[in-house]
Symmetry: C2
Amino acid sequence: MTKTNVFPKIEDKTEREEGTVFAPNFDAHGLLPVIVTSAKTGEVLMFAFMNAQALALSIETGEAHYWSRSRKSLWRKGETSGNTQRIVEMRTDCDQDVIWLKVEMTGAEACCHTGRRSCFYRAIPTGDAPGAALSLVWVDAERHFDPDAVYGHGAAAKGTLKSS
Amino acid sequence: MTKTNVFPKIEDKTEREEGTVFAPNFDAHGLLPVIVTSAKTGEVLMFAFMNAQALALSIETGEAHYWSRSRKSLWRKGETSGNTQRIVEMRTDCDQDVIWLKVEMTGAEACCHTGRRSCFYRAIPTGDAPGAALSLVWVDAERHFDPDAVYGHGAAAKGTLKSS
């Protein structure tokens, strides 16, 4: 079980962009942004962060682990809700400071702490200059589990958990 | 042309998660992370940031605008390379602090400053504990334009531009 940062650092930009050595470029807080998409549908499910430990555990186990900024703790996705994420593919970007995970969800196949499949359940209309009255449009907003039953009363509403 | 932050703020978590008022929750630097996917293939193309002005311009024009953290300036995607992005759909997440754009690319249909279609052209192998020798695997790494020709000699290698 890897607890410290085992990853090398690469300072040279060409080497980082055109090489095959995985040298994740963590931010000032020791974190990488992570984009999570469904391996089945391609939709974006959630956005989270990994520290070096979460990254190492995700690579080793093939199960998505994150760093919770609000709880300041390592977080195995689904440890409370049962909605775990098996990593089908993991990629990094040109300058190795972002991770993209394609995952298969288990359990209710829902990812958001509100019970929805994806955290991105509202669309922003485009075409007019935005004003104070810009209304979001519900998209795929059906709940696949009851957040109160899974996290305890008021968890979703009071926001004690960012994601399941 | 919107130059200041026209967006309302919502403090109440339930209202932010379950309402239809668009109240983007910018970070301490006044930025929102943006996930950009291809409307055609669903693949993740790039990851960037928007400030309030870039967000307002993206909504108004339907063309992707970002904030360049390295250049500290507003950036209309494709202004140098011609590889612009037309926004097909724009979504926000549960707590309204992330944006997801589905876009159609013009020009060479390439998004990354290295000339690749997507910035995510290398995969990270999973299944073993990572060590210093973890090798990335090339995926869809073909160049669709020559970065030197588009940005000037050495732009990609020297990293003067983060994205096209």
